[in-house]
């Protein structure tokens, strides 16, 4: 009798877990303002992300070279991932310095328990060896991933999302990112 009860309880538990996973796949967190947008890799996609937030009617401050101190009073950190050599040149820093900066701000955001939204909107142009260190770093700590499909043809972001249990939305075009952003900040 005791053994039967244990089996029934175990079976019900397994079914419940499976049903939850199917019905509520990594439910998306709600994000709060104020929002700070920063870059991971200094691509100009951070400017485009600013435009996405503007169209989604979400107030956001964009600081491509934001430091840990800039997180003061911020509730959501948006990281726009993707490397640009021209962008690094414009910022006047090396790739190593940028990696260190991104690591530091992500660390601080986690310590402050801020929600992190990671955007990858640059498609293939922001993939490859130079970009993927930044992409991985920003994706792994995200509370939510929003990716333009062209940058995920090899499932790079989907694999990270599955492994780290991060909710992910894949959109066809940059302009399609406006709606998920608006929804993420809905009250």
């Amino acid at each position: 009798m005791k053994r039967t009860s244990i089996l029934i309880i175990t079976a019900i538990s397994v079914l419940l877990i499976a049903a939850t996973t199917i019905l509520f796949p990594q439910s998306k967190p709600k994000f709060d303002q104020p929002v700070l947008i920063t870059s991971a890799g200094q691509s100009a996609d951070v400017t485009i992300a600013g435009m996405i937030f503007k169209r989604a009617n979400v107030q956001a401050k964009a600081i491509p070279l934001a430091k840990a101190a800039d997180l003061e009073g911020v509730k959501t950190l948006v990281v726009v991932a993707g490397f640009s050599s021209k962008g690094l040149g414009a910022a006047g820093i090396s790739r190593e310095q940028e990696l260190a900066r991104v690591q530091s701000i992500l660390q601080e955001a986690r310590e402050k328990k801020l929600k992190i939204m990671t955007l990858h909107i640059g498609g293939k142009a922001r993939r490859g060896n130079q970009s993927d260190d930044f992409n991985k770093m920003a994706a792994e700590v995200a509370s939510y991933l929003l990716v333009v499909k062209q940058g995920n043809e090899d499932q790079f972001f989907s694999k990270i999302a599955a492994e780290k249990k991060i909710p992910i939305d894949l959109v066809d075009k940059i302009v399609d990112a406006v709606q998920p952003v608006a929804k993420a900040f809905e009250k």
């Binding site: 691509s43 996609d45 435009m51 640009s84 021209k86 414009a90 293939k124 142009a125 075009k173």
Partner: protein, 372 residues
């Protein structure tokens, strides 16, 4: 006459024939390309009008003005900054021959580095010219070099000290127009061309300017818009528009510490909103195979196809390649989208250009349909 004299004479005759034929080919590069001003062109000027020293040299070039006669913004379009990047040049030719300006004014310089059209780069095996079938005839255009003709300012220094920044670049970059801005009136020939362009921007009160380029498919900055920081919002807005039409462009910022570039110096030293656009041109790439006229026009290269298949490419590359018509179509559409975004941000300065072929239209009908 002894036998060895006859041999020597034959050799001399053969050498004379070869030299004559080669000389003819060499001199052909000095014959200007035919650009036929369309109904929208209201004035044809020379770049030397803005810097007198260029007059009468192979570095002087035509400036086409398309003026609506109505107030509005003034746009400048440069093709041929690098004469081995034909999509920039051909885009400017299509505008000159086909466009009509309804509001504002457009100034087009199709061959801004005109001396670069008189030679090709050594060791590249580039064709001297390429042909396009139009409705009425076959037109031939020169395929030039990346920089000014070395004969205009021989020899190159070992190290090029960019003026006025003092930035050090490799010696051959001294002939690269897109490292020579703002130029100077008493500098090298390339610096004088750059100076004349800066003078034009100032005197004509240019509001928005485009420098049209191409790059090898493996270069990270292709299918891109490069912007000065003051033009980034308009560029981002244009990118949204282009993306909604299924045209992917990357946005790149102009590095403030990289001097001599059009998008940097024009933006820093004048009121103009400068943009540089890049398309993907296989003939410039290191992976390319057969290098001929067909590669310029059709942009099909088996080696790039193979590279794309093994995932070495950052762009989509299929058997259709990167035809010149598509590259010109991208430039034209990018230019129109940026003009639209500029008008959104500056509604008091309108600029409306009609009769510019749509991207799909130029793909379907071919480039020749939009040339005389």
């Amino acid at each position: 006459m002894e036998r060895h004299h006859i041999t020597a004479l034959c050799m001399l005759i053969v050498i004379a024939v070869v030299c004559t034929l080669a000389g003819r080919e060499f001199l052909k590069m000095y014959e200007p390309d035919e650009i036929i001003p369309g109904p929208g062109v209201t004035k044809v000027d020379n770049l030397s009008s803005y810097s007198g020293d260029l007059a009468g040299t192979i570095s002087d070039t035509k400036v086409y003005v398309l003026d609506s006669g109505k107030p509005g913004a003034t746009a400048l379009v440069l093709g041929g900054t690098h004469p081995n990047e034909p999509a920039g040049f051909m885009t400017a030719v299509v505008l000159t021959e086909h466009a009509f300006v309804r509001e504002g004014r457009v100034i087009v310089i199709p061959q801004v580095c005109s001396s670069g059209f008189t030679c090709t780069d050594p060791l590249e095996g580039y064709p001297q010219s390429y042909s396009i079938q139009t409705k009425s005839k076959i037109r031939s255009f020169r395929f030039g070099a990346r920089g000014s003709n070395p004969l205009t300012e021989w020899p190159d220094p070992l190290v090029f000290l960019q003026y006025p920044s003092g930035q050090q670049l490799s010696g051959n970059e001294v002939r690269n127009l897109n490292r020579s801005y703002p130029g100077r009136p008493d500098g090298t020939v390339t610096e004088r061309v750059a100076y004349a362009v800066m003078q034009l921007i100032e005197r004509e009160n240019v509001d928005i300017a485009f420098d049209l380029h191409e790059a090898a498919p493996e270069i990270p900055i292709i299918n891109a818009i490069v912007t000065h920081e003051k033009g980034k919002d308009a560029a981002a807005s244009a990118l949204f528009t282009l993306e909604s039409e299924n045209l992917q462009f990357a946005l790149e910022m102009s590095p403030p510490n990289f001097h001599g570039l059009s998008h940097r110096e024009w933006g820093d030293r004048s009121a103009v909103f400068p943009y540089l656009m890049e398309t993907s041109n296989p003939i410039q790439g290191r992976l390319r195979g057969v290098t001929n006229e067909a590669l310029v026009v059709q942009g099909i290269d088996r080696k790039y196809f193979e590279a794309a298949q093994i995932g070495s490419m950052r762009i989509t590359y299929d058997l259709e390649g990167e035809p010149l018509a598509r590259r010109v179509g991208r430039h034209l559409r990018g230019l129109q989208a940026l003009l639209g975004a500029y008008m959104e941000s500056t509604p008091e300065k309108r600029i409306v250009v009609d009769s510019v072929p749509e991207y799909e239209e130029i793909l379907a009908r071919g480039l020749g349909d939009f040339l005389h």
